[in-house]
Structure formats: structure tokens, C-alpha cells
Subunit: 354 residues, 2 copies
């Protein structure tokens, strides 16, 4: 046998890294779902809370194995849009910046906002490469069905995609193919993510997200670091710090545009304003920042359950943020949500165990 | 302090039993959800496969701790409807018997069937106590929104409830309150479940299901036993064996009525006919029977994930049932489903590890 060639050695190393991705084993139980007096289901997961120097102030479970952050990092993916002047060139409003960070519910004003963003860059819905789905809000789906049909504008990621398209136009790049890893937009986003997280993100850490853009596997501890920086601007260039501040202000002042009616991200930021930034991602991911404490937060439920990630995020806020009694009471609705059936009868509750 | 009174002692015992319910700890990993080359999420769970004598032919994880079977035992809950002559008295068709065992998608023919069942007992939708929700099929919701609105008929449990109402009328009991544990219908169902599973089901094992009827916590090994009996009639009275045979025939000959277009229960029973009975339940439960082998099956995913329970059920069928190549290939679509995003791009897959 010949000695392994460098590229084979590199391939082996990549395989070992992938193996490490797949050995995430026994994260602690974080959430119980009770029905009557019995735990019906339970969720394991991991939580990292870090400051902008990367110091972990809380680490539960495996915070070192890379996970896909999915939509939880849309605000980080939007930073290049502001840093390089595209948001100003197209005069994107605060509501539109919030949409660029959103997993929106597809309600009419979300769709109108995304349509406006595209028009500012001289584009329309045909430029979107996110795919079509009906609104994630069932009420919005029912209302839409009565008057029309779904388009790519209703895709929960359409605001992020409109932001990518504005950015592509400002860069002078062809808009088509803006979801591909080789497109200038995704190369800029990739560079920003490597810088923000301190992680090297080679192709073997890449997969395709639900809306067709790349998603990169990143450890929770590094995501928490990135959100600590995002929440404070510490360690950022002046342009990046200013961009992060504008995005935080846009999302926390217009949280309905980040999610929608009745959604966790919206209700939490409506309640706490600039004190809390939170963003959900698919498969049980949540990221956030507590700027006054300088902390970033990253959560992953092992099984991908959003209900558990939400309750854990509420518990992290409850644990760290100085709160008055009314604020604590408001959070209890999310840390111990009551489960009701189709007749409105209380049948159980969710309890966080951390 | 005075000595504990007998009722306190009983209460303590109940508390200890509940504690045991809540100590379900480390079930094995059964299912991985891959995105690209990385495991994004994973699911733990337990599986019991038993024969009609209660002998376990497969036991993975904790099969002894009671779990709520939810809708997975609708066929067992329907047995008294047939045994005591109500189904014959109201001339329920095979499709209507399948609906009595169904978690249907709320498609038009489901709703029409339930309406017919109620009419046969001289009732209408106003008698249903299951609560209203829009069809669990999004396509059915969109179609319905264009022409009308949701009612209790669209509740996925409305067929089971129509069966309960027929049974109540045949018993000469007032239909109102048929969901309550004290109502003659639920007392009969409770007695049947105790007999089928060999479990004592005291009130502390009871909770309220999504459709407001009682749900009883039962170990997977006892659920597998009950479905082995249901699949074979072994150990049953002649009336019960005949009732089970009619329900199996109804479901496996009319599987669209048990679930709906594109659903796992429907597609599996369409493919395998009388050889396989399967039924989903909320919170990651699946039950089934392989009559030719004399086996009953009960699955619970610890985190409540239906996607994992489905894949595990397909794997159990693949493992035990003698299959030709075409049948094996057909099952692979369910044991290793490909995950596609909104653009139809393959982004990952689900893999069963058992």
C-alpha cells in the first residue's frame, strides 16, 4: 500500500470530524411535558450562555459539538447587508430590517414588507429562491386560502431572502443563484459567521437549509459567543458594531416583524424591548442576547423540539435577567406553559428542569 | 404528629406509583435525523413486540413504565361498540367502523362518513364533545377555508366520538357527557382496556386526552399484548374475537378512512392489507399488529416525535414480516425517508438505528 496522499489524509480528518459531530450522546433532561399527574414526554438538550470574551457563564450538556443553527442566526446573516451599505442604499426601514432577521408567520403585513424590500432593489417575488410554502400561521393560511394562494413571499424566510437580494444588487452581483455557497452573498455571510463565531467553517460542516441557503454546523459555545458580541458590539469593528445595534433595535422595536401574532420571539421582545433579543431556529434551536449583561445564549434540543427550546429560553432569561415581579410572572407563562385541549380544558403543562 | 390515616397511606402509594411513571430515564437512541453529513437531531424511545400470551419477542428500552397510548388504541376503544351490538343496530358500514378507529385528516369523505354515523343514531354534529379543530391535512384546511369553516366533524377524533355516541344510544344512556369517565360508555371502554391489557387502571393513571375522553397510562409491554390479542383473537370471548376481526378487516380494507391521503397508517395498510394493522397516537406513540405472526407492537418515542415513531414502526414491520423484494423496497421509503426542502432539494434523511 502506498502512503496516504495529503488529500486522503485531509479526507480522513474530515471523516473524524464528522464522526465527532455524530457522537453527541447524553445531554441532560431539560424539559418535561406533563399530562395529568404523569410525565408524558421529555426533552434533552444543551445550553450555552457566554460573554463576549467567550467565557461560559452556563454550560449544560454538550456545548462543543457543532449543531446547525438554522434560522436562529438570521440576524448574524443580515450583518453584511448593513455593514457594506446595502441597507442604506435601498433605504430599508427598521421594519424591513426586522424582516431580514425574521422567520415570519406569513401574515399580510409580513408579505407586504417583503414585497417592498424587493421593489426597492428593482425586483419582485420571482427573484426569491426560498421556495413556496403556506404561512406557518394557520390563521394566516385560512385567511389567505379565502382570497388567494401561497407564493414564495409567504415562505417564513422570504424577508431574509429579500435582504440577500438587496445585498446582491448592492454588490453588483447577479441576483440569480444568491442561495449558492459560491455566490458573493453567501461568501460574505460565510466570512462573517467565521469571524463572529471564531470557528473555521469548511465545506464538510455545510448542509442545505429549508430555504436552500447554506447552513453551517457550529458549537453552541461559539454561537453564544457570537450573540454576546452581537448584543454588545464588543470585539467588533465600528461598522459591524453599528450594524448589530441597528438590527437589534429593529427587531426589539418591531418584534411582530421577526415572527408574528402570538409567537414566542414576538411576545418576548414586545415584553422586554431592548433588554432581550431572541430568535428561533428549526429543529429545536434558539439563540439570543441579554445586552445589559453582555451575555449571548444558544440552545439546542437534541430531538429538535421547538416547544422545549422555547421553554428553556424563557428559563434562561428568568435565571439571568434582573426582573420585577410582573416580569417574572409574565415569563412563567413561557417557562411553565399550560397545555389545553380542543375544548380548552387544561390537560397538562410543560416544566423546565434547570 | 398523628399516625398516617389509611387514605394518606393510599395517597402515598399513589405518589410512589406516579414517581415510578416519571423515572423513565435512558431509552436507547432509535432514530437519527441527518442533514447533509451530520446528525442534526436524534430520538430515543422504547419498543415492545409481544405475542398473545404476553411473551416479549422484542423489548428495546423501558417497556414496563406506563405511557399514554393516546389515539393509538382507538381500535381497542371501539371493541365495545361492536361486542354489544350497537354497530349492527345502527348498521354501521365497514368504512364507518374504520372511522370509529381513525385519526382522520378531515377530508370531505371523512366528514361525510362521520355525519352519516351520527345520523344513524339520530344525532348530528352538535352531539360531538371532541372540540373543533381545522383538518390536520393542510390541503384539506385550504380547501375547506375556500368554501366553509371547521366544525367538530373535522376534529381528527370525530369518528371515534361518533362511535361512542352510537354506543351510548344503543346502551340507552344519555349521549351528553359521553366523554366523562363516569359515563357508561367510558366505563365500558375502561373495563375493556383493563381486560385487554391485563393492567389495573386506577384513576391516578388517567388523564384527559386531546379530544376530552380519558386516556390511561399503560406499559408498552401490555399494549403489545393487547394488540397481539386484537390481531389474533386469542384469549378473547367469541364476541370479542369477532369484533376484533371486523375492526381489523374494516381498517385494513378501508385504510383511507383510518387516516387520510398520504398518511403513514393509510399507506402501510394499503400496501400490506390484512397482514398489517397500524395506528398512530399523539406524542410519539404507535401501536399495531402482525396477525400472521401473532404479534402485537407498541412504540413510544420519549420526546413525543411522530416522525420517529413512524420510522420505527416501519422498521419493526421490516424486521419481522416475511416480505418479497418489492415489499421491502416499499418499506424503505418509510424506514429511511428522504427529507426535502421547500424547493424539493434533498437535504437529509431519517435513519432508524435498531
Amino acid at each position: 500500500m502506498t502512503a496516504p496522499q495529503p488529500q486522503h489524509a485531509h479526507k480522513r480528518l474530515a471523516d473524524q470530524r464528522l464522526l465527532r459531530f455524530n457522537t453527541r450522546m447524553s445531554d441532560p433532561f431539560l424539559v418535561e411535558v406533563w399530562r395529568g399527574g404523569v410525565v408524558e414526554s421529555r426533552h434533552r438538550g444543551a445550553v450555552a450562555v457566554a460573554d463576549a470574551a467567550g467565557k461560559l457563564v452556563l454550560a449544560l450538556g454538550d456545548v462543543a459539538t457543532p449543531v446547525f443553527p438554522r434560522s436562529a442566526i438570521k440576524a448574524l446573516q443580515a450583518l453584511p447587508l448593513l455593514e457594506q451599505g446595502a441597507a442604506d442604499r435601498f433605504e430599508l426601514s427598521a421594519e424591513e430590517l426586522a424582516l431580514a432577521c425574521a422567520s415570519h408567520s406569513g401574515e399580510p403585513a409580513h408579505v407586504e414588507g417583503v414585497t417592498r424590500m424587493l421593489a426597492k432593489a428593482g425586483l419582485d417575488a420571482a427573484a426569491l429562491e426560498c421556495g413556496t410554502h403556506w404561512p406557518i400561521s394557520q390563521a394566516a393560511t385560512i385567511a389567505l386560502a379565502r382570497t388567494g394562494t401561497a407564493s414564495a413571499l409567504h415562505n417564513n424566510c422570504s424577508g431574509k431572502h429579500a435582504g440577500f437580494l438587496c445585498f446582491a444588487c448592492a454588490l453588483g452581483a447577479a441576483p440569480a443563484g444568491y442561495v449558492q455557497p459560491e455566490h458573493p452573498v453567501q461568501r460574505e455571510v460565510h466570512a462573517a459567521l467565521e469571524s463572529l463565531t471564531g470557528e473555521k467553517l469548511p465545506p464538510e460542516r455545510r448542509a442545505v437549509d429549508g430555504c436552500s441557503v447554506p447552513t453551517w454546523a457550529i458549537p453552541l459555545q461559539s454561537l453564544a459567543l457570537a450573540f454576546a458580541k452581537f448584543g454588545t458590539g464588543q470585539g467588533f469593528s465600528r461598522e459591524r458594531a453599528r450594524a448589530a445595534e441597528r438590527l437589534r433595535a429593529a427587531c426589539t422595536q418591531h418584534p411582530w416583524y421577526v415572527a408574528g401574532t402570538g409567537r414566542f420571539c414576538t411576545e418576548i421582545m414586545q415584553r422586554f424591548g431592548a433588554r432581550v433579543f431572541v430568535k428561533t431556529g428549526a429543529e429545536g434551536v434558539y439563540c439570543g442576547a441579554l445586552p445589559e449583561l453582555g451575555f449571548g445564549i444558544a440552545i439546542k434540543c437534541d430531538d429538535g423540539a421547538g416547544r422545549a427550546a422555547e421553554a428553556v429560553m424563557a428559563q434562561v432569561i428568568l435565571r439571568f435577567l434582573p426582573l420585577d415581579d410582573a416580569e417574572r410572572a409574565a415569563l412563567t407563562r413561557f417557562t411553565q406553559p399550560v397545555l389545553r385541549n380542543w375544548n380548552g380544558i387544561e390537560v397538562g403543562k410543560i416544566k423546565v428542569r434547570m
